[in-house]
């Protein structure tokens, strides 16, 4: 039995003052290392909020979040930042690349901000990662000058820069056409196979979710179904 990377215990999250909206209403979830998981559910069901909490980008209103067995609720900002950088990688729907930088610099950045400067090893790892996602010829271009599919592949390479245990992907194919969506999705699967990095992929598309090992269905702030994939 592999060690859980991330455990959520009775997580709730409320928004608003006055009129309070319970976006998450008690989530229990465990992510094991190497798992390839899809999270699916209608808009407003709490997928992104849950993902933000899992990514330590947001704090739960109540409940407990353990990363590799360590509680995180009481941690200082600097410790959270460190933990996030070491353990987690992010892929966002709108790719959220740093538009002031080239593809290569974007991929170097996570390790760079952790270390405080760019080193040769950071650079060569970033080059390997970009090569791996098929962008060897585009790495010195500013990311604004790449196509949507290319940008999302840069985002994938960047999410892997710090060798994270778990990559959280918020609709990584949401802005892409079917062909590009397949390319990116297959890339994620290949990386999962090759490196054992766990993925948690939020998606709208049943088609893609069905290709995952495990599917979590969200509805109204709760996990409604927690099914291993039919495959």
């Amino acid at each position: 039995m592999p060690e859980p990377i991330l455990e959520l215990k009775a997580i709730t999250r409320d928004f608003g003052n006055g009129v309070i909206v319970n976006v998450l209403k008690g989530i229990d979830l465990t992510i094991e290392s190497g798992e390839f998981t899809a999270m699916i559910g209608p808009s407003g069901s709490g997928k992104s909020t849950l993902l933000n909490i899992m990514g330590l980008l947001d704090q739960p209103t109540s409940g407990e979040l353990l990363i590799q067995g360590n509680p995180t609720v009481e941690l200082e900002d600097s410790d959270i930042t460190k933990l996030r950088g070491q353990t987690l990688g992010f892929i966002f729907q709108a790719h959220h690349l740093l538009t002031a930088f080239s593809a290569l610099e974007n991929v170097m950045m996570p390790a760079g901000v952790r270390r405080g400067s760019f080193s040769k090893s950071i650079r060569s790892r970033a080059e390997d990662l970009l090569d791996n996602v098929g962008l060897a010829d585009h790495m010195h271009k500013n990311v604004r000058n790449l196509s949507g599919g290319q940008q999302q592949r840069v985002a994938v390479a960047r999410a892997l820069a710090n060798k994270p245990e778990l990559v959280l992907a918020d609709e990584p194919t949401g802005n892409l056409d079917t062909k590009n969506a397949d390319i990116v999705f297959e890339l994620l699967q290949r990386i999962n196979d090759e490196t054992g990095t766990a993925f948690m992929i939020v998606t709208h598309e049943e088609r893609l979710a069905n290709r995952c090992e495990r599917i979590i269905r969200m509805l109204d702030g709760r996990i409604s179904e927690h099914s291993p994939s039919t495959e």
Partner: protein, 408 residues
């Protein structure tokens, strides 16, 4: 400070090109104004001080003025006394044993040069016309250290003694004499003696050029009936602006009446100080408006870069890193703006020197932007930029990463 923070700051500034150009331009113009204004005022002030002190020692040591003699008859309160007070005939007070005094003054560590002077007024007749003149008996090598006469000779040399005289060029015109000619000066008894013009000088303005005559110490002593005495010692000090302290010290030590150039020119100094204060105020408000400009542009930048800041935070950049990225941007705007500003300010100063000349084509007063002004302006601008960036940087550092990404 980490190198990656500089890199991110640099790229953020580079990404917002137009915005960065405006903010750099604003800082540069502000610094240019400060550099130009400060150079102008400092040039003006140093040229005023040069002009004043170019013809004047830093410190004068003179014999104490004698107290007014008490009246022979002291009237009662209800008495009316008709009296006429005859003023004492003008007589120059002397310093005897002045060699000893000069040694004493020279011993002061702040004193650089000391020169004995015999001075008094007289007249130089030319036919029926008499020209009032001021005689100065000096020892040229020593006096040259106090005031640069040689450098301001139009003709001849600074050589006196043995009936040689060096006179102002306007006086030379009045007397219709030139180097090699003779003219006459009356002594205290009204007897005229003849002197040979050895040099003609131009000290820059009126009175010295119209009335001053340099003679040898002996000749002056004879003309003014002073025996072997002198009546003034001119002193220069290392630092011009320490003159009043040195003066006070000498006054305590010598029982002479000692006055510094600051005391002699008190009104002038007050005017200069007021001018400096107003310059400082203008510079302060220019710096303030530059700071507000930088701050407002950086706040806009924070809003624009919100998404990227959020992503950086999600990648593991700490709040401190984000804070520094924006502080660096502010400081860089100040520093780089100030480098262009000093160049612009120097250009303005040179243009001013070229444009504003007196009718003879001479620079009215040279504006000299100095290295001190450059460094001062750069430091001021960098600090201002840094200070201006504090509020925007804090705002950026406090962005909630999740919110920032969502709203980007």
């Amino acid at each position: 400070m980490k190198s990656i923070e500089f890199f991110i700051a640099y790229r953020f500034l580079k990404e917002g090109k137009a915005q960065s150009l405006f903010i750099f331009g604003g800082a540069a113009v502000g610094v240019a104004v400060i550099v130009f204004l400060t150079s102008l005022i400092m040039g003006l002030q140093s040229s005023i001080i040069d002009q004043t002190l170019g013809n004047q020692a830093d410190i004068f040591v003179e014999p104490p003025t004698q107290e007014e003699s008490s009246p022979i008859y002291q009237p009662q309160p209800n008495e009316v006394v008709f009296s006429r007070v005859e003023p004492r005939p003008q007589r120059v007070e002397d310093i005897d044993r002045w060699e000893q005094l000069i040694d004493d003054i020279t011993a002061d560590p702040d004193v650089t040069n000391v020169s004995p002077v015999v001075t008094g007024s007289s007249v130089a007749p030319r036919g029926p016309v008499t020209n009032p003149v001021q005689l100065f008996g000096v020892d040229p090598p020593r006096y040259q250290q106090i005031i640069d006469i040689e450098g301001r000779l139009l003709r001849g040399e600074f050589a006196v003694g043995n009936n040689g005289a060096v006179i102002g060029y306007e006086l030379a015109q009045e007397l219709d004499v030139d180097v090699g000619d003779r003219f006459r000066i009356l002594d205290t008894l009204g007897v005229s003696r003849s002197f040979l013009v050895r040099g003609v000088f131009d000290l820059g303005f009126g009175t010295p050029n119209q009335t001053w005559i340099f003679l040898g110490i002996r000749d002056a002593q004879t003309m003014l009936d002073m025996g072997a005495n002198i009546n003034r010692i001119d002193v220069n000090v290392i630092d011009l602006f320490d003159a009043d302290q040195v003066s006070a010290r000498l006054s305590g030590r010598t029982e002479m009446e000692v006055s510094s150039w600051q005391e002699v020119n008190a009104d002038l100094l007050l005017a200069l100080r007021t001018q400096s204060a107003s310059t400082f105020l203008i510079a302060f408000f220019v710096a303030l408006s530059v700071a507000l400009g930088i701050a407002s542009v950086l706040i806009v930048t924070v809003v624009q870069k919100r998404g990227q800041v959020g992503v950086l935070r999600a990648m593991g950049a700490s709040m401190r890193t984000v804070l520094r990225v924006f502080l660096i941007q502010g400081a860089a705007v100040g520093l780089i703006g100030s480098i262009f500003g000093t160049i612009l300010g120097t250009g303005l100063a040179m243009g001013f020197n070229r444009l504003f000349r007196d009718p003879e084509g001479e620079i009215i007063f040279p504006i000299e932007p100095s290295v001190e002004i450059f460094i001062g302006a750069c430091l001021l601008a960098t600090f201002t930029g840094l200070l201006a960036a504090v509020a925007p940087a804090r705002r950026a550092a406090r962005l909630d990463p999740a919110e920032a990404i969502k709203n980007a």
